[in-house]
């Protein structure tokens, strides 16, 4: 109140105020009204939209229920196009059209794609998509070309909105969505429509078209995609390398002939991308052994020559590709790559050679377990462990015999991660107790006792547990997991190792007391 009296409201000095605006009250009030009106309209809009969506989806569900049996019968080949058209032509409203479109696209499979494409054309879906993407006139030309074989006139300048506006994302996104539907159509349509869409000014539409071509795996589009990949690598395209590679990698081994001119490209990054794409194609098809007929002699020669490429990246990726040939020439090439100066070449060569058919390369891979690069050591150990019991046995031999601490640590790491240590110990304990003891001792020497303690706790085989307890009892300063394991055993009533474990702990305690 004192303050209030001091400031005396009546004597407010407007002349010193920075807020001396004549109509400020009116402005503020009007702004408040606007804000409240907009807030109110938001509420009304949300309610209206909810109601509209509810009705819309009810209509759509109804249409789906009506048309689903017709689409199913048509997709199964039980209805002719004429009959299907007669049954479906009544669908004119937006929810019905959308429901039918979704049903038809979902029903498309390899064996009925031509029939369903035909129906989509007849129901004017394809023309609507094409019109969105290419404009009315060009869409008509393209569809005439596909459906009636009319020669396709060259592309003309498109009238209407300027390219700068058309290529804005907000405008292009509708075209991109329409272009995506081309993916579902039969090869003739995809080839013409998606290829045409690749010339769109918007990178969004081009990206979708590239994905469409990749998914349809149309043979003649591969050259186009590979050219696009080259452009992306040298920075001449706004499409990402990974987008194009994703599409290229969907092709099959039988399409590889198209790669041939690109494998001899002067730009090493292009050669790298091409050979990497081939590697991905092989990987997608499960890395099958390739007979002579599947890969032409020229391509084979080109791929083999990449093993001696000047770029280490190309050589590294070529290893994974040539490994599929599985013949004597490949063995020689892989052997050379395993001895390459570049660590990444050696690493990829190891991964490529870690197949049962390359048993003769096993000694070379074993040698790389002691490589100077940890990446190579890691790859070698991982690959050997992946070769099954033979690989594991060889690893165990190296593990026990090597004096290279890094190599031993890498093997110990892999044995733990893959769970192979427990498997090996269980498998060996019946026949090679001494080897198990040595393995345990080596793990202890490397200070890797936690996994041993875990096996000691969980193993069912008593002889194995006895061996492990012996090994762990000899550790000068036991780790926390070891001590916990021993304590848990002493607490487990009826455990055959209870007494022994208690004795070990007592010895430890006495030793610790003595030191104190």
């Amino acid at each position: 109140m004192v303050l209030r009296r001091w400031f005396d409201r009546a004597k407010w000095n407007w002349r010193v105020s920075v807020f001396y605006f004549k109509h400020l009250v009116a402005i503020a009030l009007w702004l408040s009204v606007v804000v409240v009106a907009i807030d109110g309209s938001f509420v009304v809009y949300v309610i209206w939209r909810r109601i509209w969506r509810k009705r819309y989806y009810a209509k759509k569900d109804l249409a789906r229920g009506r048309f689903a049996p017709v689409v199913d019968r048509y997709a199964a080949g039980d209805l002719s196009v004429e009959k299907a058209l007669a049954l479906l032509e009544c669908c004119r409203r937006r929810p019905e059209r959308e429901a039918l479109q979704e049903l038809l696209l979902a029903a498309i499979a390899k064996d009925n794609v031509t029939r369903l494409t035909d129906l989509l054309v007849q129901l004017r879906y394809v023309s609507a998509w094409a019109m969105h993407v290419f404009g009315r006139r060009r869409a008509a030309e393209l569809l005439d070309h596909v459906c009636r074989g009319v020669p396709l006139p060259p592309r003309r300048r498109r009238y209407g909105w300027p390219a700068a506006v058309r290529n804005l994302r907000v405008v292009a996104v509708r075209r991109a969505i329409a272009a995506r539907y081309f993916t579902y159509l039969s090869d003739d349509f995809v080839r013409v429509l998606a290829s045409e869409a690749l010339h769109d000014g918007s990178s969004e539409v081009r990206r979708v078209s590239i994905q469409a071509l990749g998914r349809s795996r149309f043979e003649h589009s591969l050259t186009f995609l590979l050219a696009e990949l080259r452009d992306a690598i040298v920075g001449r395209s706004a499409i990402s390398i990974r987008t194009v590679r994703n599409s290229v990698a969907r092709y099959t081994v039988s399409d590889l002939g198209e790669f041939l001119p690109f494998l001899a490209d002067t730009e090493p990054r292009v050669r790298f991308a091409m050979v990497d794409a081939i590697r991905e194609i092989f990987a997608q098809s499960g890395n099958p052994p390739l007979a002579g007929a599947e890969v032409s002699a020229d391509l084979r020669r080109a791929l083999m020559s990449l093993c001696e490429d000047g770029s280490p990246d190309v050589r590294a990726r070529a290893a994974g590709v040539v490994a599929s040939f599985q013949d004597t020439a490949t063995v020689a090439a892989l052997r050379k790559l395993l001895e390459d100066d570049n660590q990444f070449v050696r690493l990829h060569a190891i991964r490529a050679a870690s197949r049962p058919c390359y048993r003769e390369l096993l000694p070379h891979i074993l040698r790389l377990v002691t490589d100077k690069s940890w990446r190579v050591r890691e790859a070698a150990v991982h690959s050997l462990a992946g070769l099954g019991s033979e690989g594991l046995e060889r690893l165990a031999e190296v593990f026990l015999s090597t004096s290279d601490r890094y190599a031993a640590e890498q093997i110990a790491d892999e044995l733990q991660r893959s769970g192979a240590l427990a498997q090996m110990a269980k498998a060996m304990v019946g026949r090679e107790v001494e080897v198990v003891r040595q393995l345990g001792a080596k793990m202890v020497a490397l200070e890797r006792t936690a996994a041993l303690a875990h096996i000691l706790l969980t193993a069912e085989s008593q002889p194995l547990r006895v061996v492990l307890l012996d090994v762990l009892a000899g550790v000068p300063t036991p780790s926390q997991p070891t001590l916990s394991a021993l304590e848990r055993i002493t607490q487990q009533e009826g455990d055959p190792l209870q007494g022994r474990s208690r004795a070990v702990l007592a010895t430890r305690a006495a030793a610790a007391g003595g030191r104190a």
Partner: protein
């Protein structure tokens, strides 16, 4: 004397109004840009093109790094949600940052993890972890136990242990939607430039129904604090960040769910230890490092990969959280002050950093002072009615406009709240949160700034109760 006081207060009030005006104009610009970019993205995302990446050989592996400190209540659910992610190749690395509760035990028993001693190579300098746990039957899951050293150290340990070229930071109290990681990596793969950061949306999971690590029912929480936070998060993630993203000036990406390029982060020195918000600092550090080394890069924010996280349920916890965020923001801004108005750093240096420094950072004190002083001055007769009305309009009326706009945008694009009632409640809270909640958070933020200048720069831990009672079946069984 009276004249002088009136004069000073008058100008102080002018500063407050100017602050409110500039803030709201900036938000309006961001709102317009966000409306454009979010609705456009939603339109295209509805085609689900990202699903192509699920079976693509070019989709890179991603390591999900989950630093956890005393998170026993929600950690199992979080890991379950990560294991069920729809993604071709992933590693899940939980880093137990010296928890004193049963975080480690929960994970070890639920996922039957075994102790191991594995190789650890420190590309980013960190002490060696205490222990590693792994179950060969779940090859993608690893648990690393470390001595308590803070979130940034835990993340650096995770980075060192990860083998994937990208990593995604995930909070231990968060649940990620099944396709969220695919959606997050999509802009990385679809753009020719090297995308070093891809941030996603964080939403509040309080009140949602959870089953086996998946959100099965999105509902609103019960209390006003949580509901106000729901509106606040929607506004931040649909109106703020997409706007900055469109301006190529991303400065904040929530560490609760953020994908990063490992090599770039390692080259920039990993996560720093000198701020309490390692996520903001990491983004600023990356901007600085990459711009200084003249590398082509971009950082993106995508509005549809959603991560659900637990929000504070009490005022005390909220205060702690906001103080920490504000403190971290100020620390980051001060640490990277040389980037301010520096054209070398592009839109980040010229727009985002000044905005975050002066409007979001120091501005919190101005806002708090204005919130207190203007009504007092009005009551004392020092502020004329028009000024007071303008203040109310800018502080409350315009705030409701932004909040309601963001709820409408949510309804137009993501539509995560299925029940009409929930959306109407959200709209109501878009108004109500401007009266009381916003002022409270402003005071907490102002406290954060004051703490910085007083030198009280410690991490205030927020307790978590867990999103839902875990009733999942242990993996071991």
């Amino acid at each position: 004397m009276r004249e002088i006081v009136i004069y000073v207060l008058d100008y102080a009030n002018a500063v407050f109004l100017l602050y409110f005006f500039v803030t709201n104009v900036t938000y309006t610009v961001l709102m317009c840009i966000s409306l454009y970019s979010v609705s456009l993205h939603a339109k295209f995302a509805s085609q689900r093109t990202y699903l192509d990446l699920a079976d693509s050989p070019v989709t890179p592996p991603v390591a999900l790094l989950v630093p956890a400190y005393n998170e026993e209540k929600g950690i199992v659910q979080t890991v379950q949600s990560l294991l069920s992610l729809h993604y071709p190749e992933k590693e899940i690395i939980v880093i137990d940052d010296g928890s004193s509760d049963g975080t480690r035990e929960q994970l070890v028993s639920h996922f039957a993890l075994q102790p191991m001693e594995l190789i650890y190579r420190a590309a980013v300098p960190t002490p060696r972890p205490l222990a590693f746990y792994h179950n060969p039957q779940i090859p993608e899951l690893y648990l690393i136990q470390t001595a308590h050293g803070g979130k940034s150290k835990a993340l650096n340990i995770g980075i060192n242990f990860a083998r994937s070229p990208y990593f995604c930071t995930v909070d231990a109290d968060s649940i990620i939607e099944r396709d969220a990681l695919l959606r997050l990596i999509a802009p990385v793969l679809q753009h020719p430039e090297n995308t070093v950061v891809s941030g996603g949306v964080v939403r509040i999971a309080n009140g949602c129904r959870l089953e086996a690590g998946r959100i099965v029912g999105v509902e609103l929480p019960a209390t006003w604090i949580e509901r106000s936070q729901v509106v606040e998060y929607i506004r931040t993630f649909l109106f703020g960040r997409p706007g900055w993203n469109a301006l190529r000036a991303m400065f904040i990406a929530s560490g609760a769910f953020c994908l990063m390029h490992k090599e770039s982060v390692i080259a920039a020195g990993g996560f720093g230890h000198d701020t309490v918000t390692e996520d903001i600092d990491a983004i600023a550090t990356l901007h600085r490092f990459l711009a200084d080394h003249q590398r082509q890069y971009r950082m993106v924010f995508t509005s549809d990969p959603i991560c659900w996280t637990e929000a504070p349920r009490s005022l005390r916890a909220l205060a702690k959280q906001r103080r920490r965020w504000q403190l971290g923001l100020i620390q980051t801004v001060m640490k990277h002050h040389s980037m301010l108005f520096n054209p070398r750093y592009g839109a980040v240096g010229m727009l985002a950093l000044p905005f975050h420094a002066f409007i979001e950072g120091i501005g919190a004190v101005v806002e708090a002072a204005g919130t207190v002083l203007i009504p007092i001055c009005f009551a004392l007769g020092l502020v004329p009615l028009p000024v007071f009305l303008l203040f109310l309009l800018l502080a409350i009326g315009y705030g409701t406009l932004l909040s309601m706009g963001s709820v409408v945008l949510e309804e137009l694009t993501l539509r995560r709240y299925g029940r009409t009632r929930d959306v109407l409640v959200l709209l109501a809270y878009a108004v109500l949160e401007n009266i009381g909640y916003r002022q409270l958070t402003t005071f907490f933020r102002a406290q954060g700034v004051i703490h910085y200048f007083l030198g009280r720069r410690r991490w205030e831990a927020v307790e978590h109760k867990g999103i839902a009672t875990p009733n999942a079946v242990p993996y071991a069984s």
